[in-house]
Protein backbone atom coordinates (compact mmCIF):
# COMPACT_ATOMS: atom_id res chain seq x y z
CA UNK A 1 0.00 0.00 0.00
CA UNK A 2 2.82 2.33 0.98
CA UNK A 3 4.55 1.46 -2.25
CA UNK A 4 1.53 2.26 -4.40
CA UNK A 5 1.00 5.63 -2.77
CA UNK A 6 4.53 6.58 -3.67
CA UNK A 7 4.12 5.33 -7.18
CA UNK A 8 0.94 7.12 -8.25
CA UNK A 9 0.44 10.84 -8.77
CA UNK A 10 -3.33 10.59 -9.17
CA UNK A 11 -5.54 7.79 -7.86
CA UNK A 12 -9.23 7.84 -8.73
CA UNK A 13 -11.47 5.22 -7.05
CA UNK A 14 -15.11 4.44 -7.95
CA UNK A 15 -15.83 7.95 -9.13
CA UNK A 16 -19.45 8.78 -9.97
CA UNK A 17 -20.30 12.11 -11.58
CA UNK A 18 -23.61 13.12 -13.08
CA UNK A 19 -25.79 16.05 -13.98
CA UNK A 20 -29.47 15.77 -13.16
CA UNK A 21 -30.61 12.28 -14.17
CA UNK A 22 -27.70 11.68 -16.47
CA UNK A 23 -24.68 9.80 -15.14
CA UNK A 24 -21.53 10.76 -17.00
CA UNK A 25 -18.88 8.85 -15.07
CA UNK A 26 -20.00 5.56 -13.54
CA UNK A 27 -17.75 3.90 -10.92
CA UNK A 28 -14.64 5.02 -12.74
CA UNK A 29 -11.19 4.07 -11.43
CA UNK A 30 -7.90 5.31 -12.82
CA UNK A 31 -4.31 5.50 -11.65
CA UNK A 32 -1.76 7.90 -13.09
CA UNK A 33 1.86 6.99 -12.32
CA UNK A 34 4.36 9.59 -11.30
CA UNK A 35 6.43 10.92 -14.16
CA UNK A 36 4.37 9.47 -16.99
CA UNK A 37 2.41 11.11 -19.79
CA UNK A 38 -1.06 9.62 -19.78
CA UNK A 39 -3.32 10.25 -22.75
CA UNK A 40 -7.08 10.01 -22.25
CA UNK A 41 -9.29 9.28 -25.26
CA UNK A 42 -13.04 9.00 -25.45
CA UNK A 43 -16.04 9.92 -27.53
CA UNK A 44 -16.95 13.59 -27.85
CA UNK A 45 -19.29 14.36 -24.97
CA UNK A 46 -18.24 11.08 -23.33
CA UNK A 47 -16.90 12.66 -20.16
CA UNK A 48 -13.16 13.18 -20.78
CA UNK A 49 -13.25 16.84 -19.85
CA UNK A 50 -15.68 16.04 -17.03
CA UNK A 51 -13.16 13.59 -15.57
CA UNK A 52 -10.38 16.15 -15.78
CA UNK A 53 -12.54 18.89 -14.30
CA UNK A 54 -13.68 16.61 -11.48
CA UNK A 55 -10.10 15.76 -10.55
CA UNK A 56 -9.17 19.44 -10.39
CA UNK A 57 -12.28 20.20 -8.37
CA UNK A 58 -14.33 22.24 -10.83
CA UNK A 59 -17.21 19.75 -10.92
CA UNK A 60 -18.70 18.17 -7.78
CA UNK A 61 -18.77 14.37 -7.59
CA UNK A 62 -21.53 12.12 -6.31
CA UNK A 63 -19.26 9.52 -4.77
CA UNK A 64 -15.79 8.06 -4.97
CA UNK A 65 -12.36 9.24 -3.85
CA UNK A 66 -9.63 11.16 -5.61
CA UNK A 67 -6.07 11.21 -4.28
CA UNK A 68 -3.49 13.56 -5.73
CA UNK A 69 0.14 13.12 -4.67
CA UNK A 70 -1.04 11.01 -1.74
CA UNK A 71 -3.51 13.58 -0.44
CA UNK A 72 -7.22 13.11 -0.72
CA UNK A 73 -8.95 15.92 -2.57
CA UNK A 74 -11.90 17.43 -0.77
CA UNK A 75 -14.03 20.13 -2.33
CA UNK A 76 -12.03 23.16 -3.39
CA UNK A 77 -8.35 22.64 -2.75
CA UNK A 78 -6.14 25.18 -1.07
CA UNK A 79 -2.93 26.11 -2.82
CA UNK A 80 -4.03 24.17 -5.88
CA UNK A 81 -1.71 26.13 -8.14
CA UNK A 82 1.34 24.59 -6.49
CA UNK A 83 0.00 21.05 -6.98
CA UNK A 84 -1.02 21.24 -10.60
CA UNK A 85 -0.99 23.42 -13.67
CA UNK A 86 -3.86 23.35 -16.11
CA UNK A 87 -3.84 24.14 -19.79
CA UNK A 88 -7.42 24.85 -20.83
CA UNK A 89 -8.58 24.10 -24.32
CA UNK A 90 -8.92 27.75 -25.34
CA UNK A 91 -5.93 28.84 -23.26
CA UNK A 92 -8.08 30.84 -20.81
CA UNK A 93 -5.51 33.61 -20.62
CA UNK A 94 -6.66 36.68 -18.72
CA UNK A 95 -7.46 39.06 -21.55
CA UNK A 96 -6.83 42.23 -19.56
CA UNK A 97 -3.26 41.24 -18.66
CA UNK A 98 -0.20 41.09 -20.88
CA UNK A 99 1.56 37.81 -21.59
CA UNK A 100 4.18 38.62 -18.94
CA UNK A 101 1.52 39.45 -16.33
CA UNK A 102 -0.38 36.29 -17.19
CA UNK A 103 2.68 34.15 -16.48
CA UNK A 104 3.48 36.14 -13.34
CA UNK A 105 -0.05 35.87 -12.00
CA UNK A 106 0.36 32.54 -10.12
CA UNK A 107 3.77 33.71 -8.80
CA UNK A 108 2.37 37.00 -7.57
CA UNK A 109 -0.61 35.38 -5.88
CA UNK A 110 1.23 32.51 -4.21
CA UNK A 111 4.72 33.76 -3.35
CA UNK A 112 6.46 36.79 -1.95
CA UNK A 113 9.29 37.74 -4.32
CA UNK A 114 10.85 40.78 -5.88
CA UNK A 115 9.52 42.23 -9.12
CA UNK A 116 12.95 41.76 -10.73
CA UNK A 117 13.04 38.04 -10.02
CA UNK A 118 9.41 37.72 -11.11
CA UNK A 119 10.21 39.35 -14.46
CA UNK A 120 13.19 37.06 -14.97
CA UNK A 121 11.21 33.95 -14.10
CA UNK A 122 8.40 34.98 -16.47
CA UNK A 123 10.83 35.49 -19.35
CA UNK A 124 12.59 32.22 -18.47
CA UNK A 125 9.28 30.35 -18.63
CA UNK A 126 8.34 32.00 -21.90
CA UNK A 127 11.66 31.03 -23.42
CA UNK A 128 11.29 27.49 -22.13
CA UNK A 129 8.02 27.13 -24.02
CA UNK A 130 9.63 28.52 -27.14
CA UNK A 131 8.52 32.16 -27.13
CA UNK A 132 10.72 35.22 -27.31
CA UNK A 133 11.15 37.93 -24.69
CA UNK A 134 9.70 40.42 -27.21
CA UNK A 135 6.32 38.67 -27.00
CA UNK A 136 6.04 39.36 -23.28
CA UNK A 137 4.28 42.71 -23.61
CA UNK A 138 1.60 41.57 -26.04
CA UNK A 139 -2.00 41.08 -25.01
CA UNK A 140 -3.71 37.70 -25.47
CA UNK A 141 -5.90 39.14 -28.25
CA UNK A 142 -2.75 39.78 -30.34
CA UNK A 143 -1.53 36.17 -30.19
CA UNK A 144 -2.01 33.36 -32.69
CA UNK A 145 -3.57 30.07 -31.62
CA UNK A 146 -0.24 28.31 -31.18
CA UNK A 147 1.26 31.18 -29.20
CA UNK A 148 -1.82 31.32 -26.96
CA UNK A 149 -1.33 27.65 -26.11
CA UNK A 150 2.35 28.22 -25.38
CA UNK A 151 1.64 31.17 -23.10
CA UNK A 152 -1.04 29.15 -21.35
CA UNK A 153 1.50 26.36 -20.88
CA UNK A 154 4.03 28.83 -19.48
CA UNK A 155 1.40 30.07 -17.04
CA UNK A 156 0.45 26.52 -16.06
CA UNK A 157 4.12 25.79 -15.35
CA UNK A 158 4.81 29.08 -13.54
CA UNK A 159 5.06 27.45 -10.12
CA UNK A 160 6.71 24.22 -11.32
CA UNK A 161 3.77 22.05 -10.31
CA UNK A 162 4.41 18.29 -10.25
CA UNK A 163 1.26 17.54 -12.28
CA UNK A 164 0.19 19.11 -15.55
CA UNK A 165 -3.32 18.75 -16.98
CA UNK A 166 -3.76 19.38 -20.67
CA UNK A 167 -7.20 19.66 -22.28
CA UNK A 168 -6.82 18.94 -25.99
CA UNK A 169 -3.46 20.73 -26.25
CA UNK A 170 -3.07 20.28 -30.01
CA UNK A 171 -6.64 21.01 -31.12
CA UNK A 172 -6.77 23.92 -33.53
CA UNK A 173 -3.06 23.75 -34.34
CA UNK A 174 -1.62 22.83 -37.72
CA UNK A 175 0.26 19.50 -37.86
CA UNK A 176 3.66 21.21 -37.66
CA UNK A 177 2.71 23.36 -34.68
CA UNK A 178 1.00 20.37 -33.07
CA UNK A 179 4.13 18.27 -33.55
CA UNK A 180 6.27 21.03 -32.06
CA UNK A 181 3.90 21.31 -29.14
CA UNK A 182 4.04 17.56 -28.52
CA UNK A 183 7.83 17.67 -28.60
CA UNK A 184 7.79 20.63 -26.22
CA UNK A 185 5.59 18.78 -23.74
CA UNK A 186 7.89 15.77 -23.97
CA UNK A 187 10.97 17.91 -23.33
CA UNK A 188 9.45 19.83 -20.44
CA UNK A 189 8.14 16.61 -18.92
CA UNK A 190 11.68 15.22 -18.88
CA UNK A 191 13.33 18.44 -17.71
CA UNK A 192 10.91 19.22 -14.92
CA UNK A 193 9.96 15.64 -14.06
CA UNK A 194 6.27 16.30 -14.63
CA UNK A 195 3.34 13.96 -14.53
CA UNK A 196 1.16 14.84 -17.50
CA UNK A 197 -2.53 14.04 -17.82
CA UNK A 198 -3.58 14.78 -21.38
CA UNK A 199 -7.06 14.72 -22.87
CA UNK A 200 -6.65 14.44 -26.63
CA UNK A 201 -8.05 13.19 -29.90
CA UNK A 202 -4.80 13.59 -31.72
CA UNK A 203 -3.64 10.11 -32.70
CA UNK A 204 -0.19 11.44 -33.49
CA UNK A 205 0.20 12.85 -29.95
CA UNK A 206 -0.97 9.54 -28.53
CA UNK A 207 1.62 7.55 -30.43
CA UNK A 208 4.54 9.96 -30.10
CA UNK A 209 4.48 11.42 -26.58
CA UNK A 210 2.12 9.38 -24.43
CA UNK A 211 3.61 6.64 -22.25
CA UNK A 212 0.19 5.13 -21.64
CA UNK A 213 -3.24 5.70 -23.11
CA UNK A 214 -6.54 5.28 -21.29
CA UNK A 215 -9.81 4.85 -23.20
CA UNK A 216 -13.00 6.17 -21.64
CA UNK A 217 -16.28 4.67 -22.83
CA UNK A 218 -19.69 4.35 -21.17
CA UNK A 219 -18.43 6.28 -18.14
CA UNK A 220 -15.63 3.80 -17.40
CA UNK A 221 -12.01 3.27 -18.32
CA UNK A 222 -12.32 0.31 -20.66
CA UNK A 223 -8.69 -0.07 -21.62
CA UNK A 224 -5.42 1.35 -20.39
CA UNK A 225 -1.85 0.69 -21.37
CA UNK A 226 0.79 1.62 -23.92
CA UNK A 227 -0.49 2.47 -27.39
CA UNK A 228 0.60 -0.95 -28.72
CA UNK A 229 -1.62 -2.74 -26.21
CA UNK A 230 -4.57 -0.51 -26.93
CA UNK A 231 -4.32 -1.29 -30.61
CA UNK A 232 -4.74 -4.97 -29.70
CA UNK A 233 -7.73 -4.31 -27.44
CA UNK A 234 -10.92 -6.27 -28.14
CA UNK A 235 -13.33 -3.72 -26.67
CA UNK A 236 -15.70 -2.71 -29.50
CA UNK A 237 -15.47 1.04 -28.90
CA UNK A 238 -11.67 0.97 -28.65
CA UNK A 239 -11.52 -1.08 -31.85
CA UNK A 240 -13.80 1.40 -33.57
CA UNK A 241 -11.67 4.31 -32.34
CA UNK A 242 -8.28 2.99 -33.35
CA UNK A 243 -9.27 0.87 -36.32
CA UNK A 244 -11.77 3.22 -37.93
CA UNK A 245 -11.17 4.48 -41.44
CA UNK A 246 -9.44 7.69 -40.36
CA UNK A 247 -7.20 6.00 -37.80
CA UNK A 248 -6.28 3.19 -40.18
CA UNK A 249 -5.25 5.67 -42.81
CA UNK A 250 -3.09 7.60 -40.35
CA UNK A 251 -1.45 4.52 -38.88
CA UNK A 252 -0.85 3.13 -42.31
CA UNK A 253 0.93 6.24 -43.39
CA UNK A 254 2.93 6.40 -40.22
CA UNK A 255 4.44 2.97 -40.87
Amino acid sequence: MEQSQEEFAIRVRDLVVGFGRQTVLDQLSLNVRKGEILGLVGASGGGKSVLMRTIIGLIPRRSGTIEVMGHEIGGRTQGAATTWGILFQQGALFSSLTVRQNVQFPLRENLVLSQELMDEIAIAKLEMVGLRAQDADKYPAELSGGMTKRVALARALALDPPILFLDEPTSGLDPIAAGDFDALIGTLQKTLGLTVFMVTHDLASLTTVCDRVAALADGKIVAIGPMRELLQSEHPWVRAYFHGKRSQMLQHEMR
Binding site: S95, S96, L111, L117, I123, A124, E127, M128, A133, L192
Partner: protein
Protein backbone atom coordinates in the same frame (compact mmCIF):
# COMPACT_ATOMS: atom_id res chain seq x y z
CA UNK B 1 11.13 16.57 1.35
CA UNK B 2 10.91 20.31 1.86
CA UNK B 3 13.99 21.22 3.86
CA UNK B 4 15.16 24.76 4.55
CA UNK B 5 17.56 25.93 1.82
CA UNK B 6 21.08 26.93 2.82
CA UNK B 7 24.00 28.52 0.99
CA UNK B 8 27.39 27.73 2.50
CA UNK B 9 30.32 29.88 1.42
CA UNK B 10 33.96 28.78 1.74
CA UNK B 11 36.48 31.29 0.43
CA UNK B 12 39.79 29.61 -0.42
CA UNK B 13 42.22 32.16 -1.79
CA UNK B 14 40.78 33.84 -4.83
CA UNK B 15 38.26 31.05 -5.39
CA UNK B 16 34.87 31.29 -3.74
CA UNK B 17 33.17 27.98 -3.13
CA UNK B 18 29.39 28.12 -2.85
CA UNK B 19 27.50 25.08 -1.67
CA UNK B 20 23.69 25.35 -1.87
CA UNK B 21 21.81 22.81 0.26
CA UNK B 22 18.21 21.82 0.89
CA UNK B 23 15.20 22.54 -1.35
CA UNK B 24 15.82 25.30 -3.83
CA UNK B 25 12.17 25.59 -4.86
CA UNK B 26 9.56 28.27 -5.39
CA UNK B 27 8.02 27.60 -1.97
CA UNK B 28 11.19 29.00 -0.31
CA UNK B 29 11.61 31.92 -2.65
CA UNK B 30 11.94 34.57 0.07
CA UNK B 31 14.82 32.72 1.71
CA UNK B 32 16.45 32.10 -1.68
CA UNK B 33 16.40 35.78 -2.56
CA UNK B 34 17.92 36.72 0.79
CA UNK B 35 20.62 34.04 0.43
CA UNK B 36 21.62 35.03 -3.07
CA UNK B 37 21.70 38.71 -2.14
CA UNK B 38 23.86 38.03 0.93
CA UNK B 39 26.63 36.37 -1.11
CA UNK B 40 26.48 38.96 -3.90
CA UNK B 41 29.33 41.04 -2.50
CA UNK B 42 31.53 37.96 -1.95
CA UNK B 43 30.92 36.85 -5.52
CA UNK B 44 31.95 40.26 -6.83
CA UNK B 45 35.19 40.20 -4.81
CA UNK B 46 36.44 36.73 -5.73
CA UNK B 47 38.23 35.80 -8.92
CA UNK B 48 36.51 32.48 -9.56
CA UNK B 49 33.31 30.92 -8.27
CA UNK B 50 32.50 27.23 -7.94
CA UNK B 51 28.93 26.14 -7.26
CA UNK B 52 28.83 22.72 -5.65
CA UNK B 53 25.35 21.36 -6.34
CA UNK B 54 25.72 18.00 -4.58
CA UNK B 55 23.83 19.13 -1.48
CA UNK B 56 20.66 20.23 -3.25
CA UNK B 57 17.73 17.95 -2.43
CA UNK B 58 15.04 19.57 -4.54
CA UNK B 59 15.28 22.04 -7.41
CA UNK B 60 12.79 23.76 -9.66
CA UNK B 61 13.02 26.40 -12.36
CA UNK B 62 12.97 29.25 -9.89
CA UNK B 63 15.75 27.81 -7.71
CA UNK B 64 17.82 26.88 -10.74
CA UNK B 65 17.44 30.41 -12.09
CA UNK B 66 18.56 32.00 -8.81
CA UNK B 67 21.73 29.87 -8.88
CA UNK B 68 22.27 30.49 -12.59
CA UNK B 69 21.96 34.22 -11.93
CA UNK B 70 24.71 33.99 -9.30
CA UNK B 71 27.00 32.21 -11.74
CA UNK B 72 26.23 34.77 -14.47
CA UNK B 73 27.00 37.57 -12.06
CA UNK B 74 30.38 35.97 -11.43
CA UNK B 75 30.99 35.30 -15.13
CA UNK B 76 29.88 38.75 -16.23
CA UNK B 77 33.20 40.51 -15.63
CA UNK B 78 35.53 38.01 -17.26
CA UNK B 79 35.90 35.79 -14.23
CA UNK B 80 35.10 32.11 -14.22
CA UNK B 81 32.13 30.36 -12.72
CA UNK B 82 31.30 26.69 -12.86
CA UNK B 83 28.80 24.22 -11.54
CA UNK B 84 30.07 20.98 -10.07
CA UNK B 85 28.31 17.93 -8.72
CA UNK B 86 25.04 18.49 -10.55
CA UNK B 87 22.82 15.46 -9.95
CA UNK B 88 21.64 13.67 -13.08
CA UNK B 89 17.97 14.44 -12.57
CA UNK B 90 18.73 18.17 -12.24
CA UNK B 91 21.13 18.46 -15.16
CA UNK B 92 18.37 18.79 -17.80
CA UNK B 93 16.80 21.65 -15.89
CA UNK B 94 20.16 23.38 -15.30
CA UNK B 95 20.99 23.12 -19.02
CA UNK B 96 17.59 24.55 -19.90
CA UNK B 97 17.96 27.47 -17.49
CA UNK B 98 21.40 28.23 -18.92
CA UNK B 99 19.74 29.04 -22.25
CA UNK B 100 17.11 31.49 -21.03
CA UNK B 101 17.17 35.25 -20.44
CA UNK B 102 20.20 35.65 -22.71
CA UNK B 103 18.73 38.33 -24.93
CA UNK B 104 16.92 40.85 -22.83
CA UNK B 105 15.33 43.36 -25.16
CA UNK B 106 16.16 46.95 -24.35
CA UNK B 107 13.26 48.52 -22.48
CA UNK B 108 11.30 50.95 -24.62
CA UNK B 109 12.43 54.53 -24.03
CA UNK B 110 9.94 56.49 -21.95
CA UNK B 111 8.11 58.85 -24.32
CA UNK B 112 8.08 62.59 -23.78
CA UNK B 113 5.00 63.38 -21.62
CA UNK B 114 4.18 66.56 -23.56
CA UNK B 115 4.31 64.72 -26.86
CA UNK B 116 2.21 61.97 -25.32
CA UNK B 117 -0.51 64.49 -24.33
CA UNK B 118 -0.39 66.07 -27.76
CA UNK B 119 -0.60 62.65 -29.35
CA UNK B 120 -3.65 61.78 -27.26
CA UNK B 121 -5.30 65.07 -28.22
CA UNK B 122 -4.66 64.39 -31.90
CA UNK B 123 -5.93 60.85 -31.59
CA UNK B 124 -9.14 61.92 -29.89
CA UNK B 125 -9.73 64.57 -32.58
CA UNK B 126 -9.33 62.01 -35.32
CA UNK B 127 -11.44 59.64 -33.21
CA UNK B 128 -14.26 62.20 -33.00
CA UNK B 129 -14.29 62.56 -36.78
CA UNK B 130 -14.35 58.79 -37.10
CA UNK B 131 -17.29 58.62 -34.66
CA UNK B 132 -19.28 61.03 -36.81
CA UNK B 133 -18.42 59.10 -39.96
CA UNK B 134 -19.50 55.81 -38.40
CA UNK B 135 -22.75 57.36 -37.15
CA UNK B 136 -23.56 58.70 -40.62
CA UNK B 137 -22.60 55.42 -42.27
CA UNK B 138 -24.91 53.51 -39.97
CA UNK B 139 -27.69 56.03 -40.59
CA UNK B 140 -27.22 55.64 -44.34
CA UNK B 141 -27.12 51.84 -44.10
CA UNK B 142 -30.33 51.91 -42.07
CA UNK B 143 -32.08 54.10 -44.67
CA UNK B 144 -30.94 51.72 -47.40
CA UNK B 145 -32.35 48.82 -45.40
CA UNK B 146 -35.63 50.69 -44.86
CA UNK B 147 -35.74 51.40 -48.59
CA UNK B 148 -35.25 47.69 -49.27
CA UNK B 149 -38.08 46.83 -46.93
CA UNK B 150 -40.38 49.40 -48.57
CA UNK B 151 -39.72 47.86 -51.97
CA UNK B 152 -40.18 44.31 -50.70
CA UNK B 153 -42.22 44.46 -47.50
CA UNK B 154 -41.96 40.69 -47.07
CA UNK B 155 -38.23 41.00 -46.45
CA UNK B 156 -38.88 42.67 -43.09
CA UNK B 157 -37.81 40.43 -40.20
CA UNK B 158 -41.17 40.53 -38.46
CA UNK B 159 -40.46 37.84 -35.86
CA UNK B 160 -37.29 39.56 -34.79
CA UNK B 161 -39.02 42.96 -34.68
CA UNK B 162 -41.84 41.65 -32.51
CA UNK B 163 -39.40 39.90 -30.19
CA UNK B 164 -37.32 43.07 -29.80
CA UNK B 165 -40.50 45.08 -29.14
CA UNK B 166 -41.46 42.62 -26.44
CA UNK B 167 -38.01 42.82 -24.88
CA UNK B 168 -37.34 46.53 -24.94
CA UNK B 169 -40.95 47.77 -24.86
CA UNK B 170 -43.22 45.47 -22.95
CA UNK B 171 -40.63 44.22 -20.44
CA UNK B 172 -39.46 47.78 -19.73
CA UNK B 173 -42.91 49.05 -18.73
CA UNK B 174 -42.77 48.21 -14.98
CA UNK B 175 -39.45 49.93 -14.33
CA UNK B 176 -40.32 52.92 -16.54
CA UNK B 177 -43.65 53.37 -14.74
CA UNK B 178 -42.03 53.11 -11.32
CA UNK B 179 -39.28 55.63 -11.98
CA UNK B 180 -41.37 58.24 -13.80
CA UNK B 181 -44.04 57.90 -11.10
CA UNK B 182 -41.43 58.72 -8.46
CA UNK B 183 -40.01 61.61 -10.50
CA UNK B 184 -43.48 63.10 -10.96
CA UNK B 185 -44.16 62.76 -7.24
CA UNK B 186 -40.86 64.38 -6.28
CA UNK B 187 -41.36 67.34 -8.63
CA UNK B 188 -44.85 67.91 -7.25
CA UNK B 189 -43.63 67.72 -3.65
CA UNK B 190 -40.85 70.23 -4.35
CA UNK B 191 -43.35 72.51 -6.10
CA UNK B 192 -45.76 72.51 -3.20
CA UNK B 193 -42.98 72.98 -0.66
CA UNK B 194 -41.34 75.97 -2.35
CA UNK B 195 -44.35 77.64 -4.02
CA UNK B 196 -46.20 77.65 -0.69
CA UNK B 197 -44.03 80.57 0.43
CA UNK B 198 -45.44 82.73 -2.38
CA UNK B 199 -48.95 81.33 -2.00
CA UNK B 200 -48.61 80.00 -5.50
CA UNK B 201 -49.28 76.35 -4.68
CA UNK B 202 -51.79 75.89 -7.44
CA UNK B 203 -49.12 76.67 -10.04
CA UNK B 204 -47.37 73.45 -9.01
CA UNK B 205 -49.81 71.66 -11.29
CA UNK B 206 -48.74 73.85 -14.23
CA UNK B 207 -45.13 73.14 -13.49
CA UNK B 208 -45.60 69.38 -13.19
CA UNK B 209 -47.74 69.23 -16.33
CA UNK B 210 -45.49 71.27 -18.57
CA UNK B 211 -42.21 69.90 -17.27
CA UNK B 212 -43.30 66.27 -17.50
CA UNK B 213 -44.97 66.45 -20.89
CA UNK B 214 -42.46 68.66 -22.65
CA UNK B 215 -39.16 67.52 -21.18
CA UNK B 216 -38.84 65.10 -18.32
CA UNK B 217 -41.15 62.32 -19.41
CA UNK B 218 -39.36 61.64 -22.66
CA UNK B 219 -35.89 62.51 -21.41
CA UNK B 220 -35.98 60.21 -18.38
CA UNK B 221 -37.44 57.38 -20.43
CA UNK B 222 -34.87 57.86 -23.19
CA UNK B 223 -32.02 57.78 -20.68
CA UNK B 224 -33.42 54.66 -19.09
CA UNK B 225 -33.84 52.96 -22.44
CA UNK B 226 -30.28 53.90 -23.41
CA UNK B 227 -29.01 52.30 -20.22
CA UNK B 228 -31.27 49.28 -20.32
CA UNK B 229 -31.68 48.39 -23.99
CA UNK B 230 -28.83 50.27 -25.66
CA UNK B 231 -26.27 48.48 -23.51
CA UNK B 232 -27.95 45.15 -24.23
CA UNK B 233 -27.77 45.82 -27.99
CA UNK B 234 -24.08 46.68 -27.81
CA UNK B 235 -23.23 43.63 -25.73
CA UNK B 236 -25.28 41.30 -27.97
CA UNK B 237 -23.88 42.54 -31.24
CA UNK B 238 -20.41 42.74 -29.70
CA UNK B 239 -20.39 39.12 -28.61
CA UNK B 240 -21.81 38.11 -32.00
CA UNK B 241 -18.92 39.96 -33.58
CA UNK B 242 -16.44 38.24 -31.26
CA UNK B 243 -17.78 34.80 -32.14
CA UNK B 244 -17.74 35.62 -35.88
CA UNK B 245 -21.54 35.23 -36.13
CA UNK B 246 -21.75 38.49 -38.04
CA UNK B 247 -19.10 37.36 -40.52
CA UNK B 248 -21.02 34.12 -40.93
CA UNK B 249 -24.17 36.11 -41.78
CA UNK B 250 -22.32 38.19 -44.38
CA UNK B 251 -20.81 35.15 -46.06
CA UNK B 252 -24.29 33.68 -46.46
CA UNK B 253 -25.17 36.72 -48.51
CA UNK B 254 -27.24 38.38 -45.80
CA UNK B 255 -26.81 41.97 -44.76
CA UNK B 256 -26.21 42.22 -40.99
CA UNK B 257 -27.81 45.68 -41.02
CA UNK B 258 -30.95 44.22 -42.50
CA UNK B 259 -31.08 41.10 -40.32
CA UNK B 260 -29.80 42.33 -36.97
CA UNK B 261 -29.78 46.09 -36.78
CA UNK B 262 -32.94 47.21 -38.57
CA UNK B 263 -35.30 45.17 -36.35
CA UNK B 264 -33.53 46.43 -33.24
CA UNK B 265 -33.53 50.10 -34.22
CA UNK B 266 -37.08 49.91 -35.58
CA UNK B 267 -38.25 48.34 -32.32
CA UNK B 268 -36.65 51.20 -30.39
CA UNK B 269 -38.26 53.84 -32.65
CA UNK B 270 -41.67 52.26 -32.15
CA UNK B 271 -41.31 51.50 -28.44
CA UNK B 272 -39.77 54.71 -27.14
CA UNK B 273 -42.76 57.01 -27.92
CA UNK B 274 -45.08 54.47 -26.31
CA UNK B 275 -42.88 54.19 -23.24
CA UNK B 276 -42.56 57.99 -23.09
CA UNK B 277 -46.36 58.29 -23.16
CA UNK B 278 -46.81 55.67 -20.44
CA UNK B 279 -44.05 57.31 -18.41
CA UNK B 280 -45.59 60.77 -18.70
CA UNK B 281 -48.97 59.47 -17.53
CA UNK B 282 -47.30 57.72 -14.58
CA UNK B 283 -45.47 60.95 -13.67
CA UNK B 284 -48.70 62.96 -13.82
CA UNK B 285 -50.36 60.32 -11.65
CA UNK B 286 -47.52 60.52 -9.14
CA UNK B 287 -47.88 64.33 -9.09
CA UNK B 288 -51.61 63.93 -8.54
CA UNK B 289 -51.15 61.63 -5.55
CA UNK B 290 -48.72 64.08 -3.94
CA UNK B 291 -51.13 66.94 -4.65
CA UNK B 292 -53.86 65.05 -2.81
CA UNK B 293 -51.94 63.76 0.19
CA UNK B 294 -49.23 66.41 0.62
CA UNK B 295 -50.69 69.51 -1.01
CA UNK B 296 -54.26 68.88 0.11
CA UNK B 297 -55.65 69.36 -3.41
CA UNK B 298 -58.65 67.25 -4.40
CA UNK B 299 -58.14 65.03 -7.48
CA UNK B 300 -60.92 66.79 -9.35
CA UNK B 301 -59.22 70.16 -8.87
CA UNK B 302 -55.87 68.70 -9.90
CA UNK B 303 -57.36 67.41 -13.15
CA UNK B 304 -59.18 70.67 -13.80
CA UNK B 305 -56.00 72.69 -13.23
CA UNK B 306 -54.09 70.31 -15.49
CA UNK B 307 -56.74 70.87 -18.17
CA UNK B 308 -56.16 74.61 -18.07
CA UNK B 309 -52.37 74.43 -17.80
CA UNK B 310 -51.45 72.07 -20.60
CA UNK B 311 -52.45 71.75 -24.20
CA UNK B 312 -51.94 69.16 -26.91
CA UNK B 313 -48.96 71.23 -28.09
CA UNK B 314 -47.02 70.40 -24.91
CA UNK B 315 -47.75 66.72 -25.39
CA UNK B 316 -46.73 66.91 -29.07
CA UNK B 317 -43.45 68.65 -28.26
CA UNK B 318 -42.55 65.82 -25.90
CA UNK B 319 -43.65 62.88 -27.94
CA UNK B 320 -42.22 64.18 -31.27
CA UNK B 321 -38.75 63.99 -29.80
CA UNK B 322 -39.03 60.35 -28.80
CA UNK B 323 -38.49 58.64 -32.20
CA UNK B 324 -35.42 60.78 -32.93
CA UNK B 325 -33.93 59.96 -29.56
CA UNK B 326 -34.67 56.29 -30.19
CA UNK B 327 -32.90 56.49 -33.55
CA UNK B 328 -29.82 58.03 -31.95
CA UNK B 329 -29.75 55.43 -29.17
CA UNK B 330 -30.19 52.59 -31.63
CA UNK B 331 -27.52 53.78 -34.03
CA UNK B 332 -24.97 54.43 -31.30
CA UNK B 333 -25.67 51.10 -29.57
CA UNK B 334 -25.46 49.05 -32.75
CA UNK B 335 -22.41 50.75 -34.23
CA UNK B 336 -20.54 50.48 -30.92
CA UNK B 337 -21.46 46.79 -30.85
CA UNK B 338 -19.92 46.28 -34.28
CA UNK B 339 -16.73 47.99 -33.15
CA UNK B 340 -16.00 45.33 -30.51
CA UNK B 341 -12.68 43.56 -31.07
CA UNK B 342 -11.55 40.15 -29.86
CA UNK B 343 -11.18 40.61 -26.11
CA UNK B 344 -13.68 40.60 -23.27
CA UNK B 345 -12.26 43.93 -22.14
CA UNK B 346 -13.11 45.54 -25.46
CA UNK B 347 -16.71 44.35 -25.10
CA UNK B 348 -16.96 46.05 -21.72
CA UNK B 349 -15.35 49.25 -23.01
CA UNK B 350 -17.61 49.45 -26.04
CA UNK B 351 -20.72 48.87 -23.90
CA UNK B 352 -19.73 51.68 -21.55
CA UNK B 353 -18.97 53.97 -24.50
CA UNK B 354 -22.33 53.13 -26.04
CA UNK B 355 -24.30 54.09 -22.92
CA UNK B 356 -22.31 57.23 -22.18
CA UNK B 357 -22.41 58.42 -25.76
CA UNK B 358 -26.11 57.75 -26.29
CA UNK B 359 -27.11 59.51 -23.05
CA UNK B 360 -24.93 62.48 -24.02
CA UNK B 361 -26.42 62.63 -27.52
CA UNK B 362 -29.97 62.31 -26.17
CA UNK B 363 -29.42 65.34 -23.94
CA UNK B 364 -27.78 67.34 -26.75
CA UNK B 365 -30.67 66.43 -29.04
CA UNK B 366 -33.14 67.53 -26.38
CA UNK B 367 -31.39 70.90 -26.21
CA UNK B 368 -31.52 71.31 -29.99
CA UNK B 369 -35.20 70.46 -29.98
CA UNK B 370 -35.82 73.02 -27.24
CA UNK B 371 -34.24 75.72 -29.44
CA UNK B 372 -36.15 74.51 -32.48
CA UNK B 373 -39.56 74.42 -30.79
CA UNK B 374 -38.96 77.82 -29.17
CA UNK B 375 -38.16 79.38 -32.53
CA UNK B 376 -41.25 77.99 -34.24
CA UNK B 377 -43.32 79.07 -31.26
CA UNK B 378 -44.48 75.68 -29.99
Amino acid sequence: MNSEPLLLTTPSGDVLKLRPEGSWTAANVTTLETLSRSVGADVDRSRAVTLDMSGVSALDTLGAWVLEKLSRRAASSGRSAEFVGVADHFSGLMDEVRQVNRHTPAPAAAPNPVLLRLGDLGKSTVGAREDITIFLQMLGALFMAVGGVLRRPRSLRLTSLVYQLYRIGWQAIPIVVLITFLIGAIIAQQGFFHFRRFGAESYTVDMVGILVLRELGVLIVAIMVAGRSGSAYTAELGSMKMREEIDALSTMGLDPVHVLILPRVAALVIALPILAFIGSIAALYGGGLVAQFYGGMAPAIYIARLHEAISVTHFEVGILKAPFMALVIGIVACSEGLRVKGSAESLGRQTTTSVVKSIFLVIVLDGLFAIFFASIGM
